[in-house]
């Protein structure tokens, strides 16, 4: 079952600017989906349409098989949302904020227990009574995740979750998000940060100027970028011409340095496994593998190519 279905969605604002241009993609339930694109590409517009905050000019959006335009209220309580800059009532304590949002989410009987648990999960123990206006951005993000998790959502939508965080804060937040996905929460992560996608997502779609490319795995995405290569290093005890020929015969292998078996490959899905099979059969062992470009390099290269085109 799909958690999210976006079909030919366009969003055109009043002044004529097209934020989203015929976007179509699906997110399977339980997946960690990343929408990757530069700032201003249309990511937040897509999120705002998923959450029924704005209406699409054309197209259909479904969440858990319900049309957002007409049946959003039926799935609203199955969705959590972490905005880029989560808003809270600064004059209230963090706990009071969560109590308000829990009550509005229909959480009553186990409200206080759930809130206490979320403070622990979010790493905010001991800060429950602090006024939110005294919170750092990192703590606000943590509190934002706690607020998004109040209704125990099946789909968590995250908008630029690591923006504005220091390295430690970013690491903590990403670990927290990853942990949620492990527990079967479907993630929809929109970001311009390739590292976030690389660490969390198993499927990604890029967005540029409102146009969304077809979703692919991260490896598949790298493969779509021209000039991607893989460098393998291996130790092979019984190196001989037969083994070298076998490796050379694998489609996509560009060069082999025999002295310390360095193999350069043109990437295609499965090629690593094909070469590794030959090395292993020859009694060898793969020492290292480095894909070039990395996801980040591939993304930057692809964006550059699109701009040129």
């Amino acid at each position: 079952m799909n958690a999210v279905e976006v079909l030919e969605v366009t969003k055109r604002y009043k002044k004529g600017a097209v934020a989203v241009d015929g976007a179509s993609f699906t997110v399977e339930q339980g997946a960690a989906f990343g929408l990757l694109g530069p700032i201003g590409a249309g990511k937040t517009s897509i999120i705002n349409m998923l959450l029924s905050f704005i209406k699409p000019t054309a197209g259909t959006i479904k969440i858990f098989d319900r049309e957002v335009a007409t049946q959003f209220h039926e799935v609203q309580n199955r969705i959590g949302y972490l905005p880029e800059r989560p808003g809270f009532y600064g004059n209230f304590s963090a706990e009071k904020n969560l109590r308000i949002f829990a009550s509005l989410s229909g959480v009553r009987e186990e409200r206080d227990e759930r809130i206490a648990k979320l403070f622990t999960i979010a790493g905010l123990e001991g800060k429950e009574k602090d006024l939110v206006r005294a919170y750092s951005l990192g703590d606000r993000k943590r509190l934002g995740i706690a607020a998004a998790m109040l209704n125990e959502p099946e789909l968590l939508i995250l908008d630029e979750p690591s923006t504005g965080l220091d390295p430690q804060g970013r690491r903590d937040i990403m670990a927290l998000i990853h942990e949620l996905n492990v527990h079967d929460v479907t993630l929809f992560l929109a970001t311009h940060n390739v590292r976030d996608i690389a660490e969390i997502c198993d499927v990604l779609a890029t967005i540029q100027s409102g146009r969304v490319a077809a979703p692919t795995t991260t490896k598949g995405f790298i493969a779509t970028v021209r000039g991607t290569t893989v460098q393998l290093e291996a130790d092979v005890a019984n190196m001989n011409e037969r083994v070298l020929q076998a490796i050379k015969s694998v489609k996509g292998v560009k060069s082999i340095e025999c002295e310390r078996l360095k193999i350069s490959l043109d990437y295609r899905p499965g090629i690593n496994e094909d070469v590794n099979y030959i090395i292993t059969r020859a009694g060898g062992r793969l020492r290292s593998m480095r894909e070039s470009p990395s996801l980040e390099e591939a993304y930057v290269r692809m964006m550059g190519e699109e701009r040129v085109e």
Partner: protein, 293 residues
């Protein structure tokens, strides 16, 4: 749990949140203190009138027979304008503030109707401004009764509640205007400008109504303006300002033909209710149709 009780619970949550948030604001503190001071000054001068044994005036309770009601009416006359400013000050950016602080997103992420948010806010501001008003009125009433040793009769208490009802409706009309301004604007600054503009506009309507009315009946300004003799268009201009209906209090004690509205108590109450509903409906419509972000 039924949908009704879910909605009621959400409504109470929003109203409670908004009330607790409102009474901590500087604007509530500043305008609230000014209101209390003006009410006390009014009560002081009203009490001083009692000592001077002044003669009864049209529209005010008789100071000889209803001394406490008289003092209260003077306190009202000093303080009710600031009370409406307080009502407007609390409500003019009710939605724009939530938008700019991004808490509206947090609210609307929850299964809650926009009408619930709007009504919750309306009731919260009424509880804040109206609660302050009712509180100070009761304190004055009890205090004055004890000081003068003139304890109110049942008709005096009736006057008290009818007059408080009118002032509360008056306050509600300005809360509704504030909510409309907030739903029409996108930023708190725009809302503030809108509130000032509307405040001035209402005054202009009143002055224009009086000027046109007097012109139509060939009279210059007099101490007792015959509002009932004004042509319809002049009356309508006057009626637009809810302030012309809060004088209904005076109709409880005298001749309504000399009131700004030229209408009796019941008609003024109806028009005050209209002046609450008329801004609230478009405020709800605009808020419902507006994008959250």
């Amino acid at each position: 749990m039924s949908e009704f009780s879910e909605s009621s619970y959400a409504f109470l949550t929003v109203a409670q949140k908004e009330f607790q948030s409102t009474i901590r604001t500087k604007r509530f503190l500043v305008f609230g203190i000014i209101f209390v001071l003006l009410a006390l000054i009014g009560a002081y001068y009203g009490n001083a009138d009692l000592a001077r044994s002044i003669s009864p005036t049209s529209g005010a309770p008789n100071p000889a027979t209803q001394p406490v009601n008289y003092v209260i009416s003077v306190a009202y006359s000093y303080s009710q304008v600031i009370l409406t400013i307080l009502a407007l000050a609390l409500s003019y950016d009710a939605l724009t503030r939530e938008r700019s602080e991004r808490t509206l997103v947090q609210l609307l992420m929850r299964p809650i109707r926009r009408s619930t948010i709007l009504l919750g806010k309306f009731v919260a501001y009424l509880a804040a401004a109206g609660g302050l008003f009712v509180g100070i009125t009761l304190v004055l009433y009890i205090g004055l009764s004890l000081i003068t040793q003139k304890f109110p009769s049942s008709s005096d208490v009736g006057y008290l509640f009818l007059s408080m009802g009118i002032i509360l409706l008056y306050v509600m009309s300005f809360i509704a205007i504030g909510l409309l301004i907030s739903s029409l604007t996108r930023t708190s600054l725009d809302s503030l400008l809108g509130a000032v503009f509307v405040w001035i506009l209402l005054l202009i309507f009143t002055y224009a109504g009086v000027a046109l009315g007097l012109g139509a009946i060939n009279l210059s300004a007099t101490s007792e303006i015959p509002y009932t003799a004004f042509p319809g268009y002049a009356k309508i201009l006057l009626w637009i300002n809810p302030g012309s209906h809060n004088v209904a209090i005076q109709s409880l004690a005298g001749d309504f033909s000399k009131l700004t509205s030229g209408l009796n108590y019941a008609a003024n109450v109806i028009l005050l209710v209209v002046s609450i509903v008329v801004p609230l409906l478009p405020a709800y419509y605009l808020f419902k149709r507006s994008d959250v972000v």
